[in-house]
């Protein structure tokens, strides 16, 4: 899968490395919930697909992030340690670049069956199986049923139409 993505992707392997690292920091794996991070192979492949539409601006965001890494820490983003990387992303939190990457990362991540199962959804599409919904407490309607009709009467009003 990686090869296919590599040949189709507008991103160079260096750019993909940065993106993958950013995705993994935004949504890391969790032992507690038994789920992968957004840098998982499958999830990241979808992130790359989603990031195709805005490739131009994401690529310049990656350049800017690398430039910032060199300016602050004398090394490109992938070479930094996690604390340094996370610190840089916090400084970039309101940038258009990070917002675009958050959008692609969250979109891909929360359509993964393993992740959906961990939040009480199915690991398959909604159709055909569907979902169960409880009826809920219909007795709550009793006071409303007891209410007299309150729609406005139009009896005895003369029409003034166009």
């Amino acid at each position: 899968m990686r090869d296919v993505i590599a040949s189709d992707s507008p991103y160079s392997s260096e750019e993909r490395e940065v993106l993958r690292r950013v995705a993994g920091i935004l949504i890391p794996s969790s032992d507690e919930y038994g789920i992968p991070g957004a840098d998982d192979d499958l999830i990241f492949a979808r992130i790359l697909m989603l990031a195709t539409e805005q490739a131009e601006s994401i690529k310049s965001g990656i350049d800017a992030l690398n430039a910032l890494a060199i300016e602050r820490h004398d090394d490109s983003f992938p070479q930094l340690n996690e604390t340094q990387q996370t610190g840089l992303l916090h400084d970039e939190a309101n940038s258009g670049f990070l917002r675009q990457v958050i959008r692609c990362t969250a979109t891909s991540y929360y359509q993964d069956g393993r992740v959906l199962e961990s939040i009480d959804l199915k690991s398959t599409p909604p159709f055909p199986g569907g979902h169960e919904i409880e009826q809920g407490d219909w007795s709550l309607l009793d006071p409303v049923k007891a209410r007299a009709p309150f729609y406005r009467s139009i009896k005895a009003v003369r029409n003034r139409n166009v």
């Binding site: 979109t107 979902h131 919904i133 709550l140 729609y151 139409n161």
Partner: protein, 533 residues
């Protein structure tokens, strides 16, 4: 010279085109419907795929400009705070609609008389009541009889479940002492007319793969086609032609290959919706009608009404329904009728949704900073996902002539037909109503236990109700069609979609659009001998 000639030509196969086609079939006339879109294939609907939330914003986006399908036409909406939402296919926008299916109230037809604003309709609730009933049977409506906000009306199927979200908000409404009721929904809660019941897919507004939602491709159309109506897809009408005697002659259209064709008809019925219809009439210029067809009043394309929407959501401390279940649940019409002490005239309906999809929840909350990214992400996300519910406030939009659909001087569709342009301003009355709806919704959400309440108004992409742009009335100078849908200017031309609305009411329009289409059909059938007098 037209290649083929028919008795009745219907343009547009959406909510209204389907209803009138079915109703006219018993006249045994030769009826052809031209539709620019395709038949839908339910297995392609997003909910049949893992990435349903992505698909719902791409190929099944509610925005034609975003979708950009060959079957769509672009819309210049840069001068409107509300963007148009539609779908172009057999079934029209009912493919994507939520299936909220309220009726108008008797008072909605008497706005001028009761509140001194806008105009009264030339017909009333009683006139439409039998057609509402007929349409309810054809579409299949779930609901509960006895709503004190309405005159008595039948419920065909049991209501959709309250679920946890509905229960939570019902508690809130009860705590405030405010009205609520299970929503009337065009969604089958049990098997109905060959359709299966709702299985809570949770993606109604991206097409119902189960076929439980009453889109007209699976309700009216199969019946109409079986009875003899011919429906031609991928036929985009450029203009309605005019005969020398000033009557409509038929239409010129482009087929799927872009080939120009002509069809002659004795009667032409336009059902292209509140934007598509004025666009088509304005594109139908001729020597006899230099300002567009049926436009001697100058009102074609004016008085566009949308229904400004507020959206108010609360986050709760316990799990609700999340992405499961139809968006339809309960509604409240506590603030429906005019009370001028609120600072505005007319009113609104609250429609309570259930929850949000996992992607939407993540994206919105991560971007707003309410859900953390990084090591706290998973805990932070779990404190909101499946815990959000809320409502929309559907505010009555009053007709104003300066809110218009015109032809864009540059923008064209893929066949080179001039595209529509929207110019729309939110009125002061709407602004106040939106603010009021947010304030009251915040109260009810907090009464129900919400710990965080967020709101938006108007919903920027919420132009899904398209009304008023060829309105009905008895005065030819003040309206485009008469009280039974016939053009004042062209006596064999009828309009049956939301453009003929005089006012918008504070509810979703489709049940009324279809009841009107059935009423127009019946009016035609009763006058067949002197239809053009």
């Amino acid at each position: 010279m037209a290649e083929d000639a028919v008795d009745v030509l219907i343009i547009g196969a959406g909510a209204s085109g389907a209803a009138i086609a079915w109703s006219l079939v018993d006249t045994r006339m030769h009826i052809v419907c031209l539709e620019q879109g395709d038949w839908m294939n339910p297995s392609e609907y997003p909910s049949a795929h893992m990435d349903w939330e992505s698909r719902a914003t791409e190929a099944f986006s509610i925005s034609p400009n975003r979708r950009g399908h060959a079957t769509d036409y672009p819309i210049n909406e840069s001068n409107s705070p509300i963007a148009v939402a539609n779908f172009n296919a057999v079934g029209g926008a009912t493919i994507l609609y939520a299936g909220h299916f309220p009726r108008f109230h008797p008072s909605d037809f008497r706005v001028r008389t009761l509140d001194g604003v806008a105009d009264d309709w030339p017909i009333d609730y009683e006139t439409l009541a039998p057609y509402y009933d007929e349409n309810d049977r054809m579409m299949g409506v779930s609901g509960l009889a006895g709503d004190p906000a309405y005159p008595p009306k039948p419920a065909i199927m049991p209501p959709l479940p309250l679920g946890r979200a509905g229960t939570k908000l019902a508690e809130g409404f009860n705590a405030m002492g405010w009205h609520w009721w299970p929503s009337d929904s065009a969604i089958a809660s049990e098997p109905y007319d060959g359709r299966d019941k709702c299985i809570n897919l949770g993606a109604c507004t991206a097409g119902c793969a189960q076929g439980a939602k009453a889109s007209t491709d699976i309700t009216y159309w199969p019946h109409a086609i079986r009875a003899g109506v011919e429906l031609r897809t991928r036929c985009r009408v450029r203009e309605i032609t005019v005969r020398k005697d000033g009557m409509a002659g038929g239409a010129i259209y482009y087929d799927a290959d872009g080939v120009e064709r002509e069809i002659a008809a004795e009667v032409v019925i336009v059902a292209c919706n509140g934007v598509g219809t004025p666009r088509l009439l304005l594109n139908s210029k001729s020597n006899l009608f230099p300002d567009g067809l049926a436009n001697s009043s100058g009102l074609v394309g004016r008085n566009l009404m949308f229904h400004p929407y507020s959206a108010i959501r609360g986050t709760f401390e316990t799990d609700l329904d999340g992405a499961k279940g139809p968006g339809n649940c309960i509604w409240s019409q506590e603030f429906y009728e005019t009370d001028t002490s609120r600072g505005f005239v007319r009113g609104f309906t609250y429609e309570i949704g259930r929850g949000r999809g996992p992607v939407n929840t993540a994206v919105d909350h991560m971007l707003s900073g309410k859900v953390a990214w990084g090591e706290n992400h998973h805990r932070s996300y779990r404190s909101v996902v499946n815990r959000i519910t809320g409502m929309v406030g559907i505010c009555e939009d009053l007709p104003e002539e300066h809110n218009t659909v015109t032809l864009d001087p540059e923008l064209k569709d893929s066949d080179g037909i001039p595209a529509p342009r929207i110019d729309y301003t939110l009125s002061e009355n709407s602004r106040r109503m939106l603010d009021y709806s947010i304030a009251r919704a915040t109260e009810v959400l907090e009464a129900a236990g919400a710990i965080d309440v967020q709101s938006t108004a108007p919903i920027p992409h919420g132009g899904w109700h398209l009304m008023g742009t060829a309105r009905m009335g008895t005065d030819p100078q003040q309206s485009v069609v008469n009280e039974w849908g016939r053009s004042h200017d062209v006596k064999n031309l009828f309009i049956v979609d939301g453009s003929i609305f005089v006012t918008s009411a504070g509810v979703n329009p489709t049940r009324t659009i279809q009841a009107l289409a059935l009423y127009v059909a019946d009016s035609m059938k009763q006058r067949l001998a002197n239809l053009f007098d």
